[in-house]
Subunit: 205 residues, 2 copies
């Protein structure tokens, strides 16, 4: 099994963190040069269908992308510690929070950063209205999340994939020196607690 | 178990179609009046955390939202016919295509429609640039999908949740009389084949 990945990007960080939480140390990793566009080359695209990272290649040649699909597959190979649910009910709760963290927080943050960071304008012409819309959407969800975290230590009852996706999403804003509003004290407490975990720095250095 | 849902909306349609494919006929369904804003009332929000549909309430009082989490839970209760994968490898492939169909096609289509349909401007002030950006993003992915569907009957090898999510995403464009470009013949063949399934009309009438 081979994991194609890169440093410093938010989606690869999710899987790197997930792998580090599980203490997996026998997974072959191929570092892809994002700035050189290695993931956009025909060889990579033909293998994975799209030029996306991270990507996983199984020993039988099966190839796939998408962080949560990769994480769910890895969880079947390396079940402990469990990060995606021990029974159908907990799996549903963690999947719900993983999706909320991604759809309403991480993805809008990514669009906001993409439309704001000068270096990223080389990849795509920035549309300021799209950046502003997504920043507002992310902050609207942060408000709801702050309320949830007032009574909950983590998103889905205990530390899980949902927290990894949410924290990686917010942290990506650092690229444009973004920090969540200070008044969201429960959100900021949660971010600090998750980032204090030894596995949180995987994929960052 | 109770499914809170509504007619004619794209996310509720996903779960209605999934339920119909499985021939589930003993699931209690509560019709929520979207136009009257019933899902935004405190009672609903307190139960599910967010005012989103569809939503599932289990007999023990556990409540959750998010279509794919609801579908994965229902698949454990009603395993046949399988729509989300029979082993870890197929589950990963179907989850990858479900995510691609959602993140790069259904979600941009939803944003495009929201920013374009006159009646929806009552819910949110439309930002034309956001509509145009998302329409272009959806069509960019349709091009990639059209290539994939030239050699594949369905997204993930056989009919699955991924097709349901993709077709519901594209079809939502009908609200603003949108049709995918005719030149994407494989994409259009796939849309017609999926929509010809008896279960496809669930949630539409």
């Amino acid at each position: 099994m081979k994991l194609y990945t890169t440093k410093l990007a938010p989606n690869p960080r999710r899987v790197a963190w997930f792998v580090a939480e599980k203490g997996i140390d026998d997974l072959e990793t191929v570092e892809v040069n994002l700035l050189a566009g290695e993931h956009k080359q025909p060889e990579f695209r033909n293998k994975f269908g799209l030029g996306h990272l991270p990507a996983l290649e199984l020993d039988d040649g099966t190839c796939f992308t998408e962080t949560v699909a990769i994480a769910r597959y890895l969880e079947t190979v390396y079940p402990e510690p469990n990060l995606m649910g021990v029974d159908p009910k907990e799996t549903a709760i963690i999947e719900m929070w993983t999706r909320r963290a991604e759809l309403y927080l991480a993805n809008p943050m990514m669009m906001f950063v993409r439309m704001t960071h000068p270096a990223l304008s080389a990849l795509e012409a920035p549309v300021p209205e799209v950046g502003a819309y997504n920043k507002a959407a992310a902050e609207k969800f942060m408000k709801a999340l702050n309320r949830h975290l007032a009574d909950n230590e983590y998103l889905a009852g205990r530390f899980s994939m949902a927290d990894i996706v949410g924290v990686c999403g917010v942290d990506f804003g650092r690229l444009v020196k973004y920090r969540p509003p200070e008044e969201y004290e429960h959100l900021n407490r949660w971010l600090a607690a998750c980032n204090a975990r030894p596995a949180a720095s995987a994929g960052l250095k």
